[in-house]
């Protein structure tokens, strides 16, 4: 389903969607992001990895303004993220976010989870919102659960719904914050399969994950972070073929051994 046509968002491959310049963030006295520079081109599939506490989740949460930052710049095509809340809101509209803990709304059905923002943010009429939502639920292979509540679904199913919900707003960049870390092993695959299919449509994605198999299969760029810094930034091929930074090498050895 997803693999058939190129995603409408995949348009211009050369144009950068997001440019991050000299990004710095502190949590109180702790310097969690240090001089981050990163360009997210249209159609890029970037995997961000690194040991826990390295700042990868914080970085991805800065990209859509869930976290504030103190220094640097995040530029979206026309608008830049910063102190101005209106600009932040505009930039956020271009991103879809998938969380580690799914964060579905428990009091709403699967369908209502997906249509809420369509109706309230994009102001779509009910019928159209439901059609769009059903299209995305079909893409993540869970249309039959549209009337179910999140608590009736397995973790893997919930995460697929969360992906569909984020896709509904037609984001230019999909952000994944450790989407499989809270899942039981047998459910990881169903979520990764959906993400792989999504990647094939050409949608721009940035994914924080420890799933190196997924990274190898999908990513065209790997960003390795340690202690708040981007230590290594390489093509997927280069990263896995062993030219990596010693710190990254060590991490990779540890992760791959599992």
């Amino acid at each position: 389903m997803l693999a058939q046509a190129p995603h409408p968002l995949s348009a211009d491959q050369s144009m950068p969607h997001v440019r991050i310049h000299g990004l710095n963030k502190w949590f109180g006295a702790v310097h969690v992001l240090k001089d981050i520079d990163l360009t997210i081109r249209a159609g890029a599939r970037i995997v961000v990895c690194g040991p826990s506490g390295s700042g990868k989740s914080t970085l991805i949460r800065c990209i859509n303004g869930l976290e504030a930052f103190q220094k640097g710049k995040i530029e979206y095509e026309a608008t830049s993220l910063g102190k101005n809340t209106r600009e932040t809101a505009k930039a956020r509209r271009q991103t879809g976010m998938v969380f580690q803990g799914f964060n579905l709304f428990p009091h709403l059905t699967v369908l209502a989870n997906c249509t809420l923002a369509l109706r309230r943010v994009l102001l779509k009429p009910a019928r159209e919102a439901e059609e769009i939502a059903m299209r995305h639920l079909t893409a993540v292979r869970i249309p039959e659960k549209a009337k179910a509540y999140p608590a009736q679904l397995s973790g893997g199913q919930q995460q697929r719904v969360a992906i569909a919900r984020a896709l509904c707003l037609n984001p230019r960049v999909m952000l994944f914050d450790e989407p499989t870390s809270a899942l039981d092993p047998e459910m990881i695959k169903e979520v990764l399969d959906v993400m792989i299919a999504l990647a094939r449509t050409g949608v721009t994605m940035v994914c924080v994950t420890h799933e190196m198999g997924f990274a190898r299969e999908v990513a065209d760029e790997i960003v390795f972070m340690d202690e708040g810094r981007i230590v290594e930034q390489a093509s997927s091929k280069g990263f896995f073929s062993g030219t990596a930074h010693p710190r990254a090498r060590l991490f990779l050895d540890t992760v791959l051994r599992h």
């Binding site: 869930l66 809101a89 956020r92 964060n103 009091h107 309230r120 943010v121």
Partner: protein, 219 residues
């Protein structure tokens, strides 16, 4: 002069005439206190100078007796040119007083919602109002059903305070009968039993709503 059952029974219709007033005062005060309490909690959550002011206001409300509020509104406000009817003052007083408590209840109910819910709402670009209406409030209501119900029963039981403003609610009516007939035991007992019955009915209703909400949570 023992307890006269026939006399007690004869007071029931007269006291029951005031049932409507008691119920009206209860329902309107509940609505007022809930709306005001929720608004106060939202302002407090917003922080800044208004948030700080509301924090003090809530503490102030909770540290003063409800009778003081009723007397103040009824007897002091007219000096400042604000003259309100007894029933209006009664409902206003109870609403104000209980809004302080309900703000605390709502606070606990909102604090219990996982942080990820607000983040998901923000990530979906829902504005603040929509986030409150469609994400926070429904989950909060589920969390606060039990304590909220208790306060609704409390408000029902606080309506006799309105007797001091000569609002013709049930206990006031019972007292009227008592002072006319010099028999206190019967009318006051009848009023007490009627309140007990009402409170039990409300408590039962609250329990049912709570169970349904919990069942919905498990779906």
């Amino acid at each position: 002069m023992g307890f006269n059952l026939d006399f007690a029974l004869s007071t029931i219709p007269t006291i029951m005439e005031a049932l409507g007033t008691t119920l009206l005062a209860t329902v309107l005060s509940c609505l007022g206190a809930s709306a005001l309490g929720f608004t106060l909690e939202m302002i407090r959550r917003g922080g800044g100078a208004p948030g700080l002011a509301v924090r003090f206001l809530i503490d102030f409300i909770r540290s003063t007796p409800v009778l003081a509020w009723l007397y103040f509104l009824y007897f002091v406000m007219p000096f400042y040119g604000i003259r309100l009817g007894a029933m209006t003052v009664g409902i206003l007083g109870l609403s104000l007083y209980y809004s302080g408590y309900l703000a605390e209840v709502f606070k606990a109910g909102i604090d219990a919602i996982p942080k990820g819910q607000q983040e998901a709402a923000r990530a979906l670009s829902l504005n603040r109002r929509d986030t409150v209406v469609f994400v926070i409030a429904p989950q909060m209501l589920r969390n606060v059903a039990a304590p909220l119900g208790n306060y609704l029963v409390s408000i029902l039981k606080a309506t006799p305070y309105l007797a001091i403003l000569a609002v013709p609610e049930m206990l006031g009516r019972a007292f009227d009968i008592a002072s006319e007939t010099y028999r206190y035991a019967e009318p006051l007992t009848v009023a007490g039993i009627l309140f007990l019955g009402l409170a039990l009915i409300v408590a039962y209703g609250v329990k049912r709503v709570e169970q349904r909400l919990l069942a919905a949570g498990r779906r």
